[in-house]
Amino acid sequence: MIIAERKPMEEIKQLIVPYRKVLVAGCGTCVAVCWAGGEKEVGILASQLRLARSVERNEISILEATVERQCEREMVAEIKDKVAEAEAVISLACGSGVQTMAEMFEDKPVFPGVNTTFIGMPEREGLWVEMCGACGDCFLDRTGGVCPIVRCAKGLLNGPCGGTRKGGKCEIDPEKDCAWVLIYRRLEKQGRLDLMRNYYAPKNYRAVKRPGKVQAAKA
């Protein structure tokens, strides 16, 4: 899922300096699961902002709302009254959600409250790691399910680089596992090591035009 991280408090406080009534809008999907922008985080940020402005003797009214998925117009429409009430909105959703809200309420300043970082999964409780680079041309079939584009520091398609440290650690970042060691071991378990002999041509990064578009064949 999409992993995001709350922006530094100073940055958020700066965004709402001129306002006296602000809505903090959360999303109940990816950002909720990675503890960055769900209903709970909305409550916490709202509480902090009220306290901050109270200490500064510049009170502010903070409204709170969370929709299940902030990138769906129908769901965002459910909170249109609260948006109308506020002077500005801090969205804790990923960039997709922020932009959906901004598009639906064009006259209202919508600010991002989190930084959208990557597509990843929980390695353990509270720790999310990047897994997918959304390159648009997935070749996980020939790497035993390990993506070297994001998990190899050099993004090599025909690894390893030869600088792998002892214990299978990355030359650049000794805390990281060398992705190509992981690939090797995976292919070994599956009896498909022959794939390592293949040479793969440089990737066509133009496979993903920006902004990307996917049109489903059926209605």
Binding site: G28, T29, A32, V33, W35, K40, E125
Partner: protein, 539 residues
């Protein structure tokens, strides 16, 4: 329509002196929703309770606040009063105006008392009724093990009418109990016969537990025997997987005629045709392992027995003699009176073997000198360790073990035979440092616990006390991973969607899941966020 709330204050037979109740009543009557405020001096007694019941009925109260002593005493009883008055017993909140107000502060505490009542009123307004539900449970018990503890647990369970399966990995029951037998004087073979004759007990030998699923009242256990595998269901599981002993000796020194274990020594004592009676005997214990109840008893017993049977010179090297087991102190006195010599030292003695004789060298703390003892037989120090079975089974059941690898009690003082998962108990050597007296108590404890849980075939629980709202749950698995009692699993609901399902039977109502759920999907009745925040807002 505002919820009708009744507030009942008590001055606890006038033990609460520094609260101005008249002023308090006036303030409390102003709180939104409060339709009646009563002052009593004996709410917890029959008269007080009767008045409360009439008031609830007459005023058609929907929620009740009791401002009196600590809820730790009478919350349950007041809940029953509500039930008698026709109101759900959970629609009650208490304000502790005695221990945590009147008795804790100097001067006038009326202000605080009123605020505590306000907090309770705010909370009680939000409380929801809770139903009790009877859930059926399987009332068969699985006891894993085949030694003294396992056999006796099974026998006692049978006596209270519960069907038990005794599961032993060896080919026969009663292996490994010789040392215990000679020390405590019971007869393994007659115990085994009793088990085999008991209609309530099924014995499975050469059997191992391969997998355990489910929760209290409904454990599914996959058992492997010689012929194949079987699947059985049980309501509770008792681990009686014992302990093992290992000699604390340098690997160079070999066991033989001169260096023996306690068990070996017992056999020597009991052997009528022993070739030579040892003239000088040395014992070593309590140096390598602080948890030495059993070795202490074994040493004292065997030292005394050797003195009495053979009249040998007996020397005991020790770090400290811990006599907390019942009868241990007397045994120690007897041994000294009998002439057993006790030598205290700080560090483990040095052991050498020289021409078939054992030489022990230690620095005696009191003499301040080295003592060298040449003896015919040395009974070496033994470490009491957990068995592999304990490790395996704990892993399968996902229950914790302590730092030495023995089963970890849920609470050393209050729940010494229970694991942190309901329905899983342990008894005997697998609990660690025990003596016979404690083992017998533990067995009775476990039997009582299991009987209480399973005998009626159903368990009364608070229905959906902690529940994950399937609408809000996104199956992020956080609560499942975090629950310390293993009470939450992924369940499939009507539409095929998978959500977190909290077992009413296995849940301990701690609220850890409710706090951590990123989607605020877990409803913990009586301790929901709203109910906690309402108290904060009242201050």
């Amino acid at each position: 329509m505002e919820t009708k709330i009744g507030v009942f204050l008590c001055n606890c037979g006038e033990a609460i002196k520094n609260i101005d109740f008249d002023a308090a009543v006036k303030e409390i009557a102003k709180f939104p929703g409060v339709t009646c405020v009563n002052l009593s001096s004996d709410l917890c007694l029959e008269e007080g309770k009767k008045k409360m019941i009439s008031c609830i009925r007459e005023e058609n109260l929907e929620r009740v606040v009791v401002a009196a002593c600590s809820p730790e005493f009478h919350e349950h009883a007041f809940g029953e009063v509500l039930e008698k008055a026709g109101l759900n017993g959970r629609l009650l909140s208490m304000a502790n105006i005695r221990e945590q107000c009147s008795w804790a502060h100097d001067g006038d505490v009326t202000g605080k008392a009123v605020e505590l009542v306000k907090m309770a009123v705010n909370r009680v307004r939000l409380l929801q009724p809770m139903e009790m539900k009877e859930l059926p449970v399987n009332n068969e018990v699985l006891v894993v093990g085949g030694g003294f503890s396992a056999i006796n647990t099974a026998l006692q369970l049978s006596r209270v009418g519960l069907r038990t399966t005794l599961l032993e990995k060896e080919a026969a029951l009663g292996t490994g109990t010789e040392e215990l037998e000679s020390l405590c004087g019971f007869d393994t073979s007659s115990m085994v016969s009793a088990v085999e004759a008991d209609k309530n007990i099924k014995v499975l030998t050469s059997a191992r537990v391969m997998e355990v699923d489910g929760k209290i009242g409904d454990f599914s256990v996959r058992i492997r025997q010689e012929g194949g595998e079987i699947l059985r269901k049980y309501g509770a599981i008792v681990l009686a997987t014992g302990h093992q002993t290992e000699l604390a000796l340098d690997c160079e020194l070999k066991l033989g005629l001169s260096i023996v274990s306690q068990e070996e020594f017992c056999r020597m004592l009991g052997n009528p045709s022993l070739e030579t009676e040892p003239k000088t005997i040395g014992f070593i214990f309590d140096f390598c392992d602080e948890n030495s109840r059993f070795p202490t008893l074994a040493t004292l017993n065997n030292a005394l027995a050797a003195k009495r049977r053979w009249g040998s010179e007996v020397y005991v090297f020790y770090k400290s003699v811990k006599v907390d087991s019942e009868g241990a102190e007397i045994l120690y006195q007897e041994a000294r009176d009998c002439g057993v010599v006790f030598l205290k030292s700080e560090v483990p003695p040095r052991i050498d073997v020289d021409n078939g004789q054992v030489k022990i060298k230690a620095k005696d703390v009191f003499l301040g000198e080295d003592i060298i003892l040449v003896c015919d037989v040395l009974v070496a120090e033994e470490l009491h360790l957990p068995t592999e079975e304990t490790a395996n089974l704990s892993s399968l059941l996902n229950i914790r073990r302590d730092s030495r690898g023995f089963c970890q009690e849920e609470n050393v003082h209050l729940y010494p035979v229970a694991s942190e998962k309901k329905g899983i108990f342990f008894v005997g050597g697998c609990r660690g440092d025990l003596d016979l007296g404690r083992v017998l108590t533990d067995i009775s404890s476990v039997v009582m616990n299991v009987y209480e849980l399973l005998s009626s075939g159903k368990i009364l629980v608070e229905a959906e006390k902690v529940e994950a709202d399937p609408q809000k749950c996104v199956a992020c698995l956080t609560c499942i991973r975090v629950c310390p009692h293993g009470a939450i699993q992924l369940v499939r609901i009507n539409g095929g969607k998978e959500v977190a399902g909290i077992s009413d039977l296995a849940c301990y109502a701690c609220g850890i899941c409710a706090a951590i759920c990123p989607a605020k999907a877990i409803n913990f009745q009586s301790y929901r966020d709203e109910e906690i925040l309402a108290q904060i807002e009242a201050i």
